[in-house]
Symmetry: C2
Subunit: 567 residues, 2 copies
């Protein structure tokens, strides 16, 4: 590839609306261009990178025994209604009416359509297991598209759907996919972690996420120093707290005229924040089943909504209104507590709160808190659950310490189980000739997101630093003054051919730019290896080589250069 024949278009301007480094660098490198909110055209340069990711994903899915297929992006409403997801997906689902007023959606994921394909294609257990995958455009109508392709509305995703007769077959394929994913992200040259995840709206039994580690990542990942335990914040679990100490203080009412937060109360009383308890007032359920719930976490902790939602009866809940707080607690916000409510309420205490003694809560009276509160003495023993976010420094289940890093989710594997297959009546005949509902796994990789995540992880002030496998070209041969002495252009062309013959994806920058501008471009677009061919170098029999990660260039003869690049 000669860059004079390739459309390259970098810019020095820093786009004003790009908040994230990867978004800024992709725009400056000319990899993408915005067509509309959350919709990006991939330029030739950007698409080269996207296709490299796509190819590695495809190769590893094939190697793992999955077979590629392709489902339409436009899918009928009826199918989505059979699983209840037409409603459940909400406004993220882009709904479309065709000329005949039939309703469709633009596929944001394809469990239904894959299951529909499987129920038509599969009739016997002998055809199982099978894992169908596609690499296809998806659409999610994000309320606030931003960060470029990191959270675009239209994006490229690899989604796979496996079908099995027995649960153990699903587990086997799930493990197989985890291995394939690890190979993919390793080959891409990314620092990544597999973490336990909550399976969320897609549902199912087990799920793990693959994250690219990056300081800018929007997800907090939890690791243990004691083992390879890793989970995302929604799924992370700390060890049980130490046993509750005996009560040593008497219950007393303290004046806290303007202190509405645990921080303020602790400061006023001169006690540790860890001795206070935060009360969150919720209404769970509807109609007859509606109940007032007080969820309690330690003053320095945060409620984890996903964990809370898993407590029996709390899968659907909302914050209580001031009127409801007045009715049930006889209190006002800022002074809530579980002691002596106006009406009977349900109290759910985090494990840490249940292990506390002599603690402080709101007194259910404006301007007052209660101190020296103790379970079993001042109020009934609570219902106990893990409902908080873990924090760095918490003790891990394995005895180690929990650490937190930031990550960008790029992959997700789920054991879906039989939910979808049951809703869509996807059965096969089993070994005994009886119809059996299949069990299903699904496995996604955000192909376009991987590109942005790689940049978040690998960049410096000068621009992108691609891992070799993702780079638009591994090596670019820069020609100084290509229209000058013919020997230089010829030597560069010959070197390009040798690099290619050696199996390297190489290009020639023959655009005739001044060295400074040319080098700045190559750094901005993240070329891992740069070789300069100049008259002076040729005279000395050397080429100037610089790794994108190295501070200095080196003069190398051709043999050493080839050796270095192939290393």
């Amino acid at each position: 590839m000669r860059l004079s024949q390739f459309h390259l278009h970098t810019t020095k301007e820093t786009p004003s609306d790009a908040e994230l480094t990867s978004h800024r660098l992709m725009l400056r490198a000319g990899m993408i261009r915005k067509l509309a909110s959350g919709l990006y055209t991939w330029s030739p340069l950007g698409l080269r990178v996207l296709r490299k990711v796509e190819r590695i994903v495809r190769e590893e899915m094939d190697r793992a025994g999955a077979v590629e297929f392709q489902i339409p992006t436009i899918q009928p409403k009826e199918l989505w209604e059979q699983t209840g997801r037409w409603q459940k997906f909400g406004p993220q689902l882009l709904k479309i009416k065709d000329r005949k007023e039939q309703t469709f959606c633009y596929s944001p994921t394809a469990e239904e359509a894959a299951c529909d394909f499987a129920r038509s294609e599969l009739s016997s257990y002998k055809q199982l297991p099978v894992n169908f995958y596609q690499i296809q455009t998806k659409f999610r109508d994000e309320i606030r598209p931003r960060f470029g392709v990191m959270r675009a509305r239209e994006f490229l995703m690899k989604d796979a759907y496996s079908f099995h007769l027995h649960d153990e077959d699903l587990v086997r394929e799930y493990e197989n996919m985890k291995v394939a994913y690890s190979r993919i992200f390793t080959r891409l040259g990314l620092d990544f972690r597999m973490v336990q995840a909550d399976s969320g709206a897609i549902g199912g039994d087990a799920s793990q996420e693959f994250h690219v580690i990056a300081d800018s990542g929007e997800d907090a990942l939890v690791f243990s120093t004691g083992s390879d335990y890793a989970a995302n914040m929604e799924a992370a679990i700390a060890a049980d707290p130490a046993a509750r100490a005996a009560a040593s203080e008497a219950l007393r009412k303290v004046e806290t005229p303007t202190q509405k937060t645990c921080e303020d109360v602790a400061a006023l009383l001169g006690i540790d924040l860890q001795r206070t308890v935060k009360s969150v007032a919720l209404i769970a359920g509807e109609g007859e089943a509606q109940q007032f719930v007080l969820a309690l976490v330690r003053g320095d902790h945060e409620v984890n909504e996903i964990k809370l939602g898993k407590v029996a009866g709390l899968d659907e809940q909302r914050f209580a209104s001031e009127a409801e707080i007045a009715e049930y607690l006889g209190s006002v916000p800022g002074f809530l507590g579980p002691v002596a409510p106006a009406k009977p309420i349900r109290v759910v205490a985090d494990r840490e709160v249940a292990a506390m003694s002599d603690f402080v809560v709101g007194a259910n009276e404006a301007g007052f808190h209660l101190a020296g509160v103790n379970w079993g003495r001042d109020l009934a023993e609570p219902e106990v659950a893990d409902i908080r976010n873990v924090r760095a420094g918490d003790r891990a289940l394995d005895g180690g310490e929990l650490k937190i890093a930031r990550g960008i989710e790029v992959g997700h594997v789920f054991q879906l189980g039989r939910t979808y297959a049951k809703a869509l009546d996807a059965t096969v005949l089993d070994e005994n000739g009886k119809a059996a509902v299949m069990t299903m796994g699904c496995y996604g990789i955000g192909i376009s997101r991987v590109v942005a995540a790689a940049i978040e992880q690998n960049h410096d002030d000068a621009g992108i630093i691609w891992p070799d496998a993702m780079a638009p070209w591994q090596v670019v041969v820069c020609v100084i003054n290509p229209k000058g002495d013919a020997g230089v252009a010829d030597a560069a062309a010959a070197l390009l051919q040798e690099l290619r013959d050696a199996g390297l994806d190489a290009a020639l920058d023959d655009r005739g730019l001044r060295p400074g501008a040319m080098f700045a471009d190559m750094e901005l677009i993240g070329i891992p290896h740069r070789v300069v061919v100049s008259e002076r170098g040729l005279a000395a029999g050397t080429f100037e080589y610089r790794s994108r990660r190295a501070a200095e260039a080196e003069s190398l003869d051709k043999a050493t250069l080839l050796q270095r690049l192939q290393g």
Copy 2:
């Protein structure tokens, strides 16, 4: 690839709603499965073929110097309004409202978005010429989707857009693309023709279509025996007719009580159909500019609407109503004619009609026609234009004879000119530093349609007959009783490896089917080369080879087999 690990699913049932051979065979071979009207999932088998076409198209586009990019499938209304195509495209354009009530469409083609990309990326003539292409899903909301992927609503298309400063640059790239397209269809192994086309709704100056020749093709293609002239029916031109003979009959009114068609009138009068003239009553223009037009073609000819639309003032027209016919001609349908209308009308005669003498037309009176009609004597000399379809046997411009064959349009190249760039203000600075509107070409290939077209051209009673380049696998090694004697399975696996090492795309049918069922499958899915490994053959040191197009199998030793397959 071992077919036991691949999802293959053929069926003997003939789908009831499949009218076209390719649709029927694709369903029977299990290449596609219908998700909804005009929406098809590509099975692993089907996708292998689609990807082979895609790869050849990509390689040849790259070779021709085009650079790949990718535009979102969802595009904002505003862009389409700037060129007026939001209206013009009509209900084929799938319109979509997002959650914020902004309006978009699913791209049926991408001139606007490509031009928008170009106007942002290109600022100087030095960046030209450039040809951007993409291989991307498209959507056209066909009123009657049918014929499977031949006319699906969602389909895969390669679309390219080139940008130039000067007209001659566009012509050069247009010729370059014609060469690339010829290489593509040649490499795909298809019998195809490039024909002159009308540039139609997309507009522009010149255009040619690429057709796969097939008896079932919906387009009539016109060829000349005298040169390589080829055109589609909309663009085909016959030679001028012979000069008009002198009038030899007197004008007379003849009774034709129930004869409303030229055929019936000719039969009644005992004359040749070629001596009658068909009158088509039209209303052209609107408001002040509205006019009544009588278009005349010979009794045995058909009006070509595209040609008619090119006559000045007739670009927008409709059939006249009975009331309008009564008002302007004082006549009723079946008895129309250009002689003595009730009001002044415009008469447009086809070239052949203008060259007639002593002809028959309607008398503008129910139950009567006029015979012996002559131009300049019985009515004024008409306005003359080529407004008819050519017919097989017509004399060609080059002196040869016109022949008609059927074709399936799979590619189209256009010289668009400056229409889009002007509407979207896509300019670059020219050699003199002045802003100049770019001129544009566009070049499409219906990738998914090529698959169906190839089947229409290549099939027999047993199924599909793929050209080698498009086949899911070039060669399949069929193992007789793979679970029996281990020697057979091992020999087959070894042969598979040798075939692969020889660069062939080979698979192993180790599914354990009986030979008859296995061979029927391989014929149905169109495998070009079949090799059978059996105990008996191994004992004799031979393999049974059969070409899909051959009537008989042959016993070959391994060296001969490899030679044959690589030939």
